[in-house]
């Protein structure tokens, strides 16, 4: 098969269009640099999102042969396997904006409690920076993308001068907050990249709660609307769609000078050259590309003399608890969608009382799915059947 190669040498090649690739493209283009970005999919059309399809309409639409846009990459198209007993939930989005199209939007700052952790307890490599070094960048990002939050500033969760107003709490959240305060645990408005008012030309949230299907008005930060569209307006950004990158090409000195990629659908192989290559293809796909890029200068893949690329991968570590608020039983049903998910947050508190724990460091809590939901799986654990059962579910 003939390999299509363009002799042009681009200034910068960026692999990936998500949060990192989009930010790189946005920053470089506004500083006058010409950028060519390779994305493994195409732009998702907001007008095609199934954001406002009610739960009972999904099946009807599927029966009629309609399909929601395939935001999450199907494992039929790109299967993956993991070792036995080592499951790994790999969510990939091949398409413009990547996972920012469907992300959870939680935008918490690290604090010095986090940065100093490795030094204090001797685990992990110490951070070379502290909060004051990164705070100006947090400020810039908050201003650019719009993050809602409160006016508090916690030792374990720094605040921001640039937060948009927080969404009001739901009944269930108030009840949890009250209970937490009664035992001295602080609850604060969560910081999430959802627009609670029109901001920077972007439309505010309309509280439908269906963010996971993609926002049809772009009311939460996504790389496509917030970074790539402004970058395209500079005329310095060129995006190549459906370009699945296989490896980084290097010159005789071992320096990156291009990229080998395949068209996602025609499978044609292509090569493109550039003076700089930015790898921003998500944790796992970036690892794949770096490991694939072996050469005499980089026998173990690029950037992998340590041999740790692709190892020690961890999902977001989280534990889920369910609770039930008897106060709310039998009451009026409210529209509890809000900004889709948690409106409040419990910052790490276990360092405050001076008590010694039998584990390292700490944790924060998010409170999701409070109030009226469409997921009724809890009903399966309610015993019995018939009228009593129906009443108990309600």
């Amino acid at each position: 098969m003939q390999i299509q190669t363009s002799p042009q040498v681009h200034d910068v090649l960026i692999i990936g269009s998500g949060a990192a690739g989009g930010m790189a493209a946005w920053n470089l283009t506004r500083q006058g640099v010409n950028v060519t970005l390779l994305d493994a999919g195409r732009k998702f059309r907001r007008s095609e999102f199934w954001t406002h399809v009610k739960p009972w309409e999904w099946q009807q639409r599927l029966d009629a042969g309609q399909k929601p846009p395939e935001i999450v990459l199907s494992t039929t198209e790109q299967p993956y396997i993991t070792p036995l007993e080592q499951p790994f939930l790999l969510t990939r989005v091949w398409g413009r904006g990547g996972k920012t199209n469907i992300w959870g939007r939680v935008s918490l700052r690290y604090s010095d409690l986090d940065f100093a952790g490795p030094e204090r307890d001797g685990w992990e490599i110490p951070w070379p920076i502290r909060y004051k070094d990164i705070a100006p960048y947090y400020d810039q990002v908050d201003q650019l993308i719009g993050v809602c939050g409160g006016d508090d500033d916690q030792d374990s969760l720094p605040g921001s001068r640039y937060f948009l107003p927080p969404p009001p709490l739901r009944c269930g959240e108030h009840i949890i907050k009250k209970a937490a305060h009664s035992i001295g645990i602080n609850i604060v408005p969560i910081r999430r990249a959802v627009l609670t008012r029109d901001y920077n030309g972007h439309t505010k949230c309309h509280y439908c709660g269906a963010c996971g299907s993609g926002c049809d008005v772009g009311a939460f930060f996504n790389s496509s609307d917030y970074l790539l569209e402004p970058a395209l307006k500079t005329k310095r950004l060129n995006i190549i769609d459906n370009a699945v990158v296989a490896r980084i090409l290097v010159d005789d000195r071992g320096l990156a000078n291009g990229v080998q990629y395949f068209d996602r659908y025609t499978k044609e192989e292509r090569r493109i050259f550039g003076k700089r290559v930015v790898v921003a293809a998500s944790c796992v796909d970036s690892s794949r590309i770096l490991l694939n890029s072996s050469s005499p200068r980089h026998p173990n893949g690029i950037g992998n003399s340590s041999d740790v690329i692709g190892r020690y991968l961890a999902e977001q570590i989280r534990f889920t608890l369910r609770g039930f608020a008897p106060e709310l039983m039998g009451g009026k049903v409210y529209n509890d969608d809000g900004i889709g998910g948690a409106h409040m947050y419990m910052p790490r508190f276990n360092h405050r009382d001076g008590r010694k724990r039998d584990y390292l460091r700490g944790f924060g809590c998010q409170f999701w799915y409070t109030g009226a939901q469409t997921d009724l799986s809890y009903a399966k654990s309610i015993p019995g059947f018939g009228l009593e059962f129906k009443k108990a579910v309600k």
């Binding site: 309609q66 309309h206 969608d337």
Partner: protein
């Protein structure tokens, strides 16, 4: 003390100056006309399939009867009103591993009904059906108990995804466009 509804109504008038007040079904106004909003078109109306593709007619009647016993009609629709049996049929078609447990379970249920009352499950009175099912809903270790648990899960999955189950029965009225999110205004919930 003003009620939540009053507060919302006041809010709606002062904050958004709508020509019409909030409709009774909604807490605040819908906002489909906000600049930048491109909402997908209305849901297509699809004729609901009237025939099962997996279950035989007699089996299907049993599926209808059994699901109706689990979630019966009250002042709100039951499983039969909601078309749960067809959704269960669809679920079996989509997940073939359910086919054998469902088919065998329904046959076992009829065998039990015949042993106890000399008739198939669908021919029993409501009271007889309830009497037959009550021990099955408790003894989850027996084959029939396991079938009942599976069938109950399938009924729950189907019913509470329908408009009848989610909206009419539970009163869920989410996934709409609101100009503001009011949040809780019960002082007793606040700290």
């Amino acid at each position: 003390m003003s009620t939540r509804r009053d507060a919302l109504r006041l809010f709606t008038i002062t904050a958004t100056a709508l020509p019409t007040l909030a409709s009774p079904a909604q807490e605040t106004k819908e906002m489909g006309d906000q600049p930048g909003h491109i909402h997908a078109g209305p849901a297509i109306k699809v004729p609901v399939p009237s025939r099962p593709t997996f279950f035989q007619p007699a089996e299907f009647q049993a599926v209808e009867a059994l699901s109706e016993r689990i979630i019966p009609r009250s002042d709100t629709p039951g499983a039969k009103d909601a078309g749960v049996a067809l959704l269960i049929d669809k679920a079996v078609v989509a997940n073939p591993s359910l086919a054998l447990p469902c088919r065998a379970g329904l046959a076992d249920l009829n065998a039990l009904a015949n042993n106890s009352y000399g008739a198939n499950f669908t021919a029993l009175t409501e009271e007889q059906q309830i009497k037959l099912l009550t021990p099955l809903s408790i003894e989850t270790d027996s084959p029939l108990g396991k079938f009942f648990a599976l069938f109950k899960d399938m009924t729950v999955d189907a019913y509470y995804k329908t408009e009848a189950g989610l909206k009419t029965e539970l009163g869920w009225h989410g996934n709409t466009y609101l100009s503001e999110f009011p949040g809780c205004d019960h002082p007793e919930h606040h700290s």
